[in-house]
């Protein structure tokens, strides 16, 4: 349901980005946009010659937008969260594990940029909030730091998102449940 609700928005957004000349493409490389769209739709990623190269290429794409998101580039934050959405929609285990490790550190560095991206794209909140919450259970963390994060960030999340979306997001952080397709 999540995929169906958001897919038209994603497609429209990506097609718009792809339709723009590169100099107006708001920080999104045209080939990257194509790769994300192809990945989201389960198509062969044309920019890579083999499946192995595509796997490495997807990893590099993730790393590039993570670094730029961590530096606070607003467009990169949005694209990185779109990659998170794509990752869950396509059941990509390794990239899910990367987001489960990386999203909280990026959020801690750039909370306003992440919340601005979510505020403008509420449909990205379920996957983003899932990965925020997953961090606290991932790789033996066993919930450590979750309550402190909620204490620190609840007010900011409530201020950035509409009431119902904020409530759902906080619930995901408290007790993450992978959003279904």
């Amino acid at each position: 349901m999540l995929r169906f609700q958001a897919i038209s928005v994603v497609l429209l957004g990506l097609l718009l980005v792809m339709a723009l000349p590169i100099q107006q493409a708001v920080g999104v490389d045209q080939d990257d946009a194509t790769e994300i769209l192809e990945s989201l739709l389960g198509l062969t990623v044309e920019r890579h010659a083999t499946a192995l190269a595509a796997m490495h290429g997807w990893g590099a794409l993730y790393g590039n937008y993570r670094s730029r998101a961590a530096a606070g580039e607003p467009d990169a934050v949005r694209v990185w969260l779109l990659i998170a959405f794509t990752t869950l929609a396509r059941g990509d285990a390794a990239t899910s594990e990367a987001f489960s490790s990386d999203l909280i550190p990026v959020y801690r560095r750039q909370p306003e940029a992440v919340l601005d991206a979510l505020s403008d794209n509420l449909w990205l909140a379920p996957t983003t909030c899932y990965f925020l919450g997953a961090y606290f259970d991932f790789e033996d963390r066993a919930g450590e730091g979750r309550q402190a994060f909620l204490t620190d960030e609840t007010q900011s999340i409530q201020a950035a998102l509409p009431e119902a979306a904020a409530e759902r997001c906080l619930r995901q952080i408290e007790s993450p449940e992978r959003p279904g397709p």
Binding site: L52, W58, R90, A93, A94, E97
Partner: protein, 150 residues
């Protein structure tokens, strides 16, 4: 090119990963995320590194075995391209990958040459429950008759 074999036999929430080659003989407990379960089958594996994990045993990126593209999971519900075998101390290290002790992953990964080649057959199987033979009817009848005579 030499071909290697990795066998994963699952039983409930954990399994045993087996790898034998030369003097290496690994039989080790492994885990995975119970919500994202790779379908049983044989997949072509590649010894590689995970692009976004920097905690490799040798100080580089994390050593892993990639299971290739289009791997079915959750009883054929979908296919995905991001399943690996990599290090981990329990299911909390997984969002679908198979994880086991880092020393064993590194030992296995180091043995496989060359890297970045589809030279591994990874078989994932589920333990079948062995059931006892149904009781012999005649035997049951004799026991009944004996109890009536007693």
């Amino acid at each position: 090119m030499e071909t290697y074999t990795i066998d994963v036999l699952r039983n409930g929430s954990s399994g045993i990963l087996t790898f034998k080659h030369g003097t290496i003989d690994i039989s080790e407990v492994c885990w995975w995320d119970q919500n994202v379960v790779i379908d049983a089958g044989t997949y072509t594996g590649y010894a590689t590194r995970m692009a976004n994990k920097t905690d490799g045993t040798d100080g580089g990126k994390r050593e892993a075995i990639w299971l290739g593209a289009g791997v079915p999971y959750n009883s054929g519900a979908a296919t995905a391209n991001g399943f690996f075998i990599h290090k981990g101390t329990g299911p909390s290290w997984s969002e679908g990958c198979i994880v086991l002790a880092s020393a064993k992953v590194y030992q296995m990964w180091s043995e496989i040459q060359p890297k970045e080649q589809g030279n591994i057959n990874v078989t994932i199987r589920d333990q079948k429950v062995r059931r006892g033979r149904p009781q012999d009817r005649d035997c049951t009848r004799r026991r009944y008759l004996a109890s009536q005579m007693a």
